[in-house]
């Protein structure tokens, strides 16, 4: 689960991890009202107006409605014009940014609507660094990654100058040890007050990662200010779905408006669904088989409209819900059901299909491939239903049949 930057900073601040002062706003009036207290508290006339969406690359992104306007704007007007000039400019920016569509490398061409802004104090930056905590699958441990190349994409650094990425494993029992945090801080070239603050920051962040069950914490950039303080100028956090049950405060941060409505509905039925751009809807049991079904549709020359795993113990309700979700996509021209019944019996699935079609109707071709437990019973139910269902001998046969049917 992803959260916004302002929420990540809230979680960090609550754990003593230094972040700049800021205020989340949803209207122009709130944006303007946020300025004075921030400037006063920070003693710095500069503020930043930052779009809050669940996607990276905001700084380099642009609004569809205002191509010259980026997703993150630093307001310098206050340096000469004073507080009123800052407020005016923030109000102007907020008026254009709120409700507009931000397109970044991570949003896709359709972009994301900006519903929230974060107004943040300016920082006198000395250096920009990179810090993240992520699971390393090879060692089965969380690792801290740090780099002097802050502000740039870490994938690029990893590709071009891998020696500039420092790593330390977090021991699952002991946590990140003091000397490891020191080594990382030395490696980042920190000295004096910044060294002390950096060590403290790295330790606290590693503790937060374990405590909060994060998938990823990424601070890019981590900044060293001119006064030697070390702060998270940006903050990205995502959480591991399996552990959310023990973090109600994080669950409350979920922003459903940032997620796909069909995917949310599907998850309510225990269905794992991801919308794609093709025309052939798929309903499959098992994640691996669902991916393989998409692959085989593509292999025969079609385009899958979705990934859909109905789960291992699906019953009629799941099948009906899956049908509704698939057919709601206006791009879908046909459906391929591919079931290898193990625990799930083919007759249960077949009955689910028949009932679902009776309930939601079927205005497009349907190809069903059944294999596994009670397969003959399942096929019999489909045959006797009187519905226009094409039966497939195997996956490839099914993929070809649905492709032909949708092209006819």
């Amino acid at each position: 689960m992803k959260i916004h930057e302002f929420q990540a900073k809230e979680l960090m601040a609550a754990r003593g991890i230094p972040v700049p002062h800021g205020e989340m706003v949803t209207t122009v009036a709130e944006a303007m009202a946020a300025v004075a207290p921030l400037v006063e508290a920070a003693g710095n006339p500069v503020v930043a107006v930052k779009s809050q969406i669940h996607a990276g690359g905001r700084g380099k992104g642009h609004f569809a409605e205002y191509p010259e306007l980026g997703g993150v704007n630093v307001v310098l007007d206050g340096i000469e014009g004073g507080l009123e000039a800052t407020k005016r400019r923030v109000g102007e920016l907020a008026g254009r940014m709120l409700g507009s569509t931000l397109v970044t490398v991570q949003t896709g061409p359709e972009g994301k609507k900006v519903n929230r802004l974060y107004i943040e104090q300016g920082i006198d930056i000395d250096r920009e660094l990179y810090l993240s905590i992520v699971l390393d699958r090879s060692s089965s441990k969380n690792i801290v990654m740090a780099s002097t190349e802050g502000g740039t994409e870490i994938e690029v650094v990893a590709e071009e100058t891998p020696e500039k990425i420092l790593k330390a494993e977090i021991d699952p029992g002991l946590g990140l040890l003091d000397f490891q945090a020191r080594e990382l801080a030395f490696g980042l070239g920190l000295e004096g007050a910044a060294l002390k603050n950096g060590v403290r920051f790295i330790k606290a962040l590693s503790e937060a990662a374990v405590e909060l069950d994060t998938d990823l914490i990424e601070i890019n950039p981590l900044v060293v200010a001119k006064d030697g303080s070390v702060l998270a100028l940006d903050g990205k956090m995502s959480f591991e779905a399996n552990a959310l049950y023990r973090h109600p405060e994080v669950q409350d941060m979920r922003d459903l408006s940032e997620e796909n409505a069909a995917e949310i509905e599907a998850s309510g039925y225990g269905i794992s669904f991801i919308k794609l751009d093709g025309t052939i809807g798929c309903m499959v049991n098992g994640a691996g088989l669902a991916m393989a079904t998409m692959d085989i549709i593509k292999y025969v020359g079609g385009e899958p409209a979705n990934f859909l795993d109905v789960g291992g113990g699906a019953e009629k309700d799941q099948v009906t819900a899956a049908f509704k979700i698939i057919t709601r996509d206006p791009n879908v021209k046909g459906i391929f059901v591919n079931i290898f019944g193990g625990i799930m019996k083919c007759d249960t699935i077949a009955q689910g299909i028949v009932d679902a079609v009776a309930e939601v109707g079927l205005a497009m071709p349907l190809v069903v491939r059944l294999e596994g437990t009670n397969v003959d019973l399942g096929k019999q139910i489909l045959d006797e239903s009187g519905l226009n269902i094409l039966s497939a001998a195997d996956m490839k046969d099914g993929a070809q049949k649905i492709l032909e049917a949708t092209q006819a």
């Binding site: 699958r137 049950y245 996956m395």
Partner: protein
């Protein structure tokens, strides 16, 4: 011969809820030697299993079974009383990592964890704990381990399997069934089929299984089924190049998966441009693995690899 489990393997079960009970019943019907269950609050009781024998399983049995499975408080007590060497874990996600560690502390040789949805942090701890115990973990979030006609541990349908010549190792559940079904259809059968699970942190990996199959005299070839995410397939490819003496076929799911999206399994995600199907297929092909172009061709790919 086979790997990990055979007709003499004695198995206990941790987790006697609806799922655990259902699959314990299926295992007993198949002929697996289930010898006990662990339940902290039901110790001293027994759980009754009765029904019709699954004749696709261990041969030479009657048409029905009737078994009073004893329940123990702890894994240690269950092991002491039954001599079990394997535990299968169906404990719900919040408690599953603890169940794995309890089984490891009791000295079991093999722990098969079926549970899906265990927090990664818990598995990171359990994996670290296993580092100083001798137990082997298979899973979590996997269908289990089966040696056809001898021992079925997990949730796979028994009847699609047939005793034979091929070792199967897979990150995916239903895709394993697909592979097993095709191997049975083409007449190759299986020595042992191992589901290693779809989570980012798991016990046994591809290389462990490849090594076991390479050393097993009965196994003549191996099929490995991978998916997007992580680098386990690439690491397996490197090991195959250096060590594998038997033919290997493979399939990788997720060629069409979009980046940054978790495809059902926690571990199946392309992140930062890493873990794509194309990278994995290239690595495996370079290591001499025969890749099935589609999931319908897995049996054919295995036959082709055997003929090479």
């Amino acid at each position: 011969m086979s790997v990990l489990v055979n007709k003499d393997t004695k198995v206990i079960v941790q987790g006697m809820g609806k799922t655990g009970r259902f699959h314990t019943d299926r295992a007993i019907a198949y002929g697996t030697q289930m010898v006990g269950a662990v339940h902290p609050s039901r110790a001293g009781q027994t759980e009754l299993f009765e029904g019709e024998t699954d004749h696709s399983g261990v041969p030479g049995r009657g048409d029905s079974y009737n078994l009073e499975l004893p329940i123990f408080r702890t894994v240690k007590e269950a092991v002491a009383a039954t001599g079990a060497t394997v535990s299968v874990v169906y404990v719900p996600p919040p408690f599953a990592a603890d169940a794995i560690m309890e089984a490891a502390d009791a000295g079991l040789e093999l722990i098969v964890c079926i549970t899906e949805g265990i927090p990664v942090t818990d598995m990171v701890k359990a994996k670290s704990y296993l580092g100083y115990h001798s137990s082997r973990l298979v899973g979590p979030n996997c269908p289990g381990v089966i040696t056809p006609r001898e021992c079925k541990i997990g949730i796979m349908p028994g009847y699609i399997h047939e005793a034979g010549r091929i070792g199967v190792v897979s990150r995916s559940g239903t895709l394993t069934y697909e592979a097993v079904h095709q191997l049975t259809q083409v007449g190759l059968g299986q020595t042992t089929a191992i589901g290693i699970g779809g989570d980012p942190v798991n016990g046994t990996d591809f290389i462990d299984c490849l090594r076991m199959f390479n050393e097993d005299p009965a196994t003549e070839g191996v099929i490995m089924i991978g998916e997007i995410g992580g680098t386990a397939e690439e690491e397996a490819a490197a090991w195959i190049s250096g060590h594998m003496t038997k033919p290997v076929a493979g399939f990788i799911a997720g060629s069409t998966a979009p980046a940054g999206k978790r495809m059902g399994h926690a571990g199946a995600i392309i992140s930062g441009g890493k873990g794509t199907a194309a990278d994995k297929i290239t690595a495996l092909e370079e290591a001499g693995v025969t890749i099935a172009p589609t999931p319908t061709d897995m049996g054919a790919a295995m036959l082709e690899a055997m003929d090479r």
